[in-house]
Point group: C2
Chain length 245, copies 2
């Protein structure tokens, strides 16, 4: 349809980068593009920590389950949902602060995602590749310590940025009628649509791995959901002052 | 830096639209651009409901606190975090499903935000305007009923799309050093930076409202935080099967 939509549709996560650096001016521009995203009720609850120190990077790579590119990518950013800033705003006006609401956790987290997605789009528009690192939530307590995050701040995810040294295929997405509904939720035909999609995903993995991995979408999802999903997250978030009510 | 970054930086929420329609092919393209965004562990947990029925639109506009553009915009989309789809995947393999984890709520919600932000960028790239409607969370129970959302699905936010019939100024954002930190969180200088920014925001509101509203960012935030933040959200989400542990 146009160059922007083509760019969006060409997204693939990049996990192998050339060593070429990304200068600070460029990084600032990307972060400013992130800031320009919509923000819920103007809260601007996203803080980005650019991690430059090699030792810190190594430790974060470890937290993320030894994803080496966390240490080696030209840039690594940690997106934090931040209500400490709002505490500051309240202090500036000697005003009481109501905190701990689920709604606040949600809006601060969503703010980070809107912001980060703009950063990714901006990065891809200048030829960079990116991969989100949800793995930081494997050990969020340790990440918070390493980055000296105060109360009311938590690491939502990381982001590796760099010039791509690989050219992976675009991963197929669910058929449009599964994700786009009209007027009401109706998944009556979704089981069949997912079955057809499963074959496509199986083929994608087969060709990408030279036959080593053959897995459908529903198999992958059902395998994942057989396990607990980071059960430490609720107590961790509550210890940071979130999700208390 | 380039046309894409310029586009991102020119974002403003649009709340007044021309009556011109957006055809279904165009809407499909925007939603496909949304699908192309990264998705946490390939969960693809976002479902979009395009609301076309006028009566339904009116009711949703009411839920959102009588925001008339919810009813009148060329298109109105509701972004839902959806784990019903994953339940289906488990059923397809007679597999047990672990649900209710905070981590799952978070990843499904983030998926919606990444998806939606791509839709917004794609929309703006073809000359459309957009505004997110968090106000649906005023009455999420009623929204869920109106859209017949099953368990494990909840409405994260709405999105109005249409051709702009206004040209608002870009709203100033926090100074870069407040939102971008290096290696560690340090807000030692933020109070002063926010005070400087406060003056900028006050001026923005003054000129935009012809002097009727003069409010700084920290005033606005502290005023908002004096009130409870949608305290119904936690019980609502738990009733949908989220955030139980």
């Amino acid at each position: 349809m146009n160059a922007v939509i083509d760019l969006l549709k060409q997204h693939r996560s990049i996990r192998k980068f050339r060593p070429d650096p990304i200068d600070q001016t460029t990084l600032n521009t990307l972060v400013e593009a992130g800031q320009a995203a919509a923000t819920s009720s103007f809260i601007q609850a996203c803080t980005v920590i650019q991690v430059d120190e090699a030792a810190l990077r190594e430790q974060l790579a470890e937290c993320a389950g030894n994803q080496a590119y966390v240490a080696s990518a030209a840039r690594f950013l940690v997106f934090c949902a931040d209500m400490r800033r709002h505490q500051l705003a309240c202090e500036m006006h000697d005003a009481p602060m109501q905190s701990g609401f689920t709604e606040q956790f949600l809006t601060a987290s969503l703010d980070c995602a809107l912001f980060a997605q703009n950063v990714v789009v901006a990065a891809e528009s200048i030829g960079l590749g990116a991969v989100y690192i949800g793995g930081l939530r494997n050990q969020p307590e340790r990440v918070a310590e390493l980055l000296e995050l105060p109360a009311l701040v938590y690491p939502v995810f990381g982001l590796c940025l760099g010039y791509p040294d690989q050219n992976p295929e675009i991963k197929p997405r669910l058929p449009l009628p599964v994700v786009l509904k009209q007027d009401r939720y109706d998944d009556g035909a979704d089981r069949e649509r997912i079955a057809a999609y499963d074959a496509e995903v199986r083929e994608y993995y087969r060709t990408r791995t030279g036959g080593n991995k053959e897995m459908s979408w529903s198999e992958q999802i059902s395998g994942m959901l057989a396990r607990e999903a980071r059960p430490h997250m609720l107590p961790f978030l509550q210890s940071r002052g979130f999700l208390k009510k």
